[in-house]
């Protein structure tokens, strides 16, 4: 029935919006976390952290814009987040960046799982791929092995 179809469509979009909200929350944390990462790196390495932060801001703003088009309020950024471990040196900063990228990867995979719109999957896929490419570099800097993952975010 047409009404059933409309209900299902609305339910699917609600699930997609909820997943996008989680992704926005994860990118808020990543943007904040990269401030910590950059502060702990040597000046020569801060450009990489700055680029990553900018990338997360960009994709976060695109997700927020998508939610705004649907009159959905995105989750706000927290003023501060508890760090999973002290970040006192460059290797700690790289390890924190790995946590940040792995966190957003999980959120974007969730979006892929829940998305009803192909355009949303394209956004999630781009964000996920970029996060994993950055994560590979940070895992190497943090001395993690292996540096690649078969199934990032899953």
């Amino acid at each position: 029935m047409a009404d059933d179809g409309a209900d299902e469509s609305a339910q699917d979009l609600a699930a997609e919006n909820a997943a996008l909200g989680l992704a926005v929350a994860a990118t808020h944390a990543a943007v904040w976390g990269y401030g910590v990462v950059g502060a702990a790196l040597e000046p020569g390495g801060r450009g990489t952290a700055g680029s990553a932060e900018a990338a997360h801001r960009d994709v976060r703003d695109r997700a927020i814009a998508l939610l705004a088009e649907r009159s959905v309020e995105p989750p706000p950024a927290e003023g501060a987040y508890a760090l999973p471990f002290p970040v006192l040196a460059a290797v700690d900063a790289a390890a924190l960046a790995v946590v940040l990228e792995d966190g957003v990867s999980a959120a974007w995979v969730r979006v892929l799982d829940q998305a009803a719109e192909p355009g949303t999957r394209e956004l999630a896929l781009e964000a996920l791929s970029d996060a994993e490419v950055r994560a590979v570099g940070w895992r190497a800097a943090a001395g993690r092995t292996p540096v690649t993952r078969a199934l990032p975010g899953l």
Binding site: E8, Q11, D12, A14, A15, L22, A25, A26, A29, A30, W32, G33, G35, A39, E78, G79, A80, Y81, A82, L83, P84, V87, L88, V99, L100, D102, G103, V104, S105, A106, A107, W108, V109, R110, L112, D113, Q114, A115, A116, P118, R121, A124, L125, L128, S129, A131, E132, V133, A135, G137, T145, P146, V147, T148, R149, A150, L151, P152, G153, L154
Partner: protein, 161 residues
């Protein structure tokens, strides 16, 4: 209004776990296949055929790792972990694609031992792009799996650069 913390680990607020890791944990608990409706998990014939096609794409990539390693034994050792990950991806794809059976595929061979690395990298990039394209037209857990595999291969591409 919350404010940014002062420098030093003692100054960080403890009221909110770092959302990135918390989100990851929450997702693990919920599982990525817990859709509110089952519609996303229903597979059309076209989607099923496409998923079988992606199994073939991944089989070709796994064979490419073998071919590149045979052409350049030094490279074989260097990329052993990447090859194992490609095989893991293939296993997950086969599990997700009903009716998938192993098939003999040939990716060709590197033009020369010296070009084995760049040849392999091109194979990885091709597979990543193929899985990404398929991801967008799939839904639910299949889209998540294809997207994750594609992203993993983008990471491999970077390592082979």
């Amino acid at each position: 209004m919350s404010s940014l913390p002062p420098p030093g680990p003692r100054g960080f607020s403890r009221r909110t776990l770092l959302a990135a890791s918390a989100t990851g944990l929450a997702l693990l608990a919920a599982g990525c296949t817990s859709s509110p409706t089952e519609q996303r998990e229903q597979v059309t014939g076209e989607q099923a055929d496409q998923l079988l096609g992606q199994v073939g794409v991944q089989e070709t990539l796994v064979a490419a790792y073998t071919a590149a390693g045979a052409a350049d034994p030094g490279l074989a050792g260097e990329v052993a972990e990447l090859a194992a990950q490609a095989a893991e991806q293939l296993a997950r794809l086969r599990a997700a694609a009903p009716g998938a059976t192993p098939s003999a595929v040939s990716p060709g061979t590197p033009p020369s031992p010296g070009e084995a690395r760049s040849w392999l990298r091109a194979q990885v990039a091709t597979a990543a792009t193929s899985h990404a394209t398929a991801c967008v037209s799939q839904s639910g857990a299949r889209a998540a799996l294809l997207g994750s595999i594609s992203a993993g291969l983008r990471g491999q591409d970077g390592r082979l650069a």
